[in-house]
Assembly symmetry: C2
Homo-oligomer: 325 residues x 2
């Protein structure tokens, strides 16, 4: 099981490799939100998202003989890039299974980072788990799960260690910490880190409308899957149901969840562009959108949000920032 010791060990293995991303703020964002807003800019992490933390933690945490066999991952794009880069730095091969309709940039980057990409057709009903199991068996690869993997959760938790340190530097003693939440790896890791290092901070997962399985599951006290479409605007964080390892952690430490519309996510992307000079992708802007537009559901005087990723195609980003608020 993941715990603060595993997170500390992941941080130690990541020293000099994983980037300490800045905690940013702007008086303009504070004004919109009606409270102090701090943005943990994980889009500035290597490969453009926090997923490099988990990928590096998993690869560096494997026994050398296992790692040398090569790794396998399935991902819509950010975990793919994080694992691909971590594998390249360890000089071991990576095979990544990605949906054909993932953002072009994510597929191209994963290849350019040296991984072999195997595309599957999610609309056509192919199951990535089946393809993954087949390739894994054929090639003897080590599977790196995107969130239901203790080493990955521990790696994402290093983001929480930094949040605790940086918040202390800013003099923040109480805060709500909003995380962009898909399978819950980042949320669980950050929650475990803050439980140990900043116990007065409360972690609250943020999700897009129609994909709020975590919010509903936290209310129900048990995993409740989404029944709607599998794909959407916030591609990076669309999961059907919380993870088996992550949900018990979320259930113990986090909530309630926050849910925002795609229009609010777009407005948050514009705000990050304009006020922070950050490129944030849709799935990475859900927490900032919650801070800016769900003030009535927040309590703390300070809110810290993860801007989890920035891997967005240029055409889409151009369209979003050119819109009027």
């Amino acid at each position: 099981m993941s715990d603060i010791k595993m997170i500390e060990a992941a941080a130690e293995r990541g020293r000099g490799v994983v980037r300490r991303t800045p905690l940013l703020s702007s008086p303009f964002l504070d004004e919109i939100a009606g409270r102090r807003v701090f943005v943990k800019a994980e889009c500035l992490q290597h490969t453009g998202s926090f997923k490099f933390r988990g990928g590096w933690s998993a690869l560096s945490g494997l026994p050398e003989a296992e790692r040398a066999r090569g790794v396998l991952a399935y991902s819509s794009g950010n975990h793919a890039q994080g694992v691909a880069r971590a594998a390249a730095l360890h000089e071991v091969p990576a095979t990544i299974i990605m949906p054909k309709d993932a953002p072009e940039l994510k597929i191209a980057n994963t290849r350019a980072l040296g991984a072999e990409v195997v595309l599957y057709d999610r609309a056509g009903g192919e199951q990535r788990e089946e393809i993954g199991t087949r390739i894994q068996e054929e090639r003897g690869l080590i599977l790196i799960r995107p969130y239901d993997e203790p080493l990955v959760i521990a790696g994402q938790g290093t983001c929480g260690l930094e949040i605790a340190e940086q918040a202390a530097e800013e003099g923040i003693t109480e805060a709500e910490v909003l995380t962009c939440c898909g399978g819950g790896g980042l949320t669980a890791g950050v929650a475990l880190a803050l439980e140990a290092r900043a116990p007065r901070f409360r972690v609250r997962p943020a999700e897009p409308e129609g994909f709020e399985d975590t919010a509903r599951s936290l209310v129900a006290g048990a995993p409740v899957p989404n029944n709607g479409p599998e794909t959407g605007f916030c591609d990076a964080i669309l999961t059907r149901v919380p993870g088996q390892l992550t949900f018990p952690i979320l259930s113990r430490l986090c909530g309630p969840g926050l849910v925002v519309s795609n229009a609010e996510v777009r407005a948050a992307m514009r705000a990050a562009f304009l006020r922070l000079k950050l490129v944030v992708e849709p799935g990475g802007a859900v927490a900032l959108a919650s801070a800016l537009f769900r003030g009535a559901e927040l309590e703390a005087e300070a809110v810290i949000v993860t801007a989890s990723g920035g891997n967005v195609d240029a055409a889409l980003f151009a369209e979003v920032i050119a819109e009027a608020d």
Copy 2:
């Protein structure tokens, strides 16, 4: 005169206020440049450019009785915002003289940061110095010059202190440091800081074609003004001639200059968007463009560039990133 002691004092006054911006990198940028490229992300500084360093240094370095009278600055936008924010944090009034044709975002932000903005018509031949002198005398304000001011140069120099520290953390022992250069405040400050802290680093100013007064002046050994237009794509760094205080520092410590085209600046903005998830404005992308596209004029194995600012209107940024390389 500015020196390392003044820069250290400016860093001390800025502690807890001025942001330590990250030094970023990407294997994709290294590949284009054919060497290691590190980007000092000053667009993430408060007010979206390094100019807050100089503004804060100048305001915090004034005797309290003088500061209380209020400050005056003229600027096409980034110095304006830096001084406006520094004045607001000191709770003293700021009056900023800006050209009517400055980017809308910069004018709007300067006002929103609490300054009184006085617009003048540079195409119509109005001289900002004349307007400034009149207002200064009428109101008894303290003028904060954009670069020919020792406290401002010292403030910009704090960026150089951070570059020296961060380069040491990355294990860089020799480097060329490319700075986006207008009047030379950043270039002079960084050069003085590195002279003391990283003497094997060479600072080289980068400018856009048609506005390479610094490059030509360094060759000539004396200030040689531009004779072309006053305005252009890289609005933040268009000055007619190097500063009186800055040029002797540049002449002693820096060069040769690098000159890039607007098309190369646009490509650098796209690269920063795609590979670093940073919003960089035209004038802030000149140094990165030099690193990426002037490799034949570079010598060091590692190059460090300032991404000096990110205050670009959404419509222009959308247009630039949507272009094909």
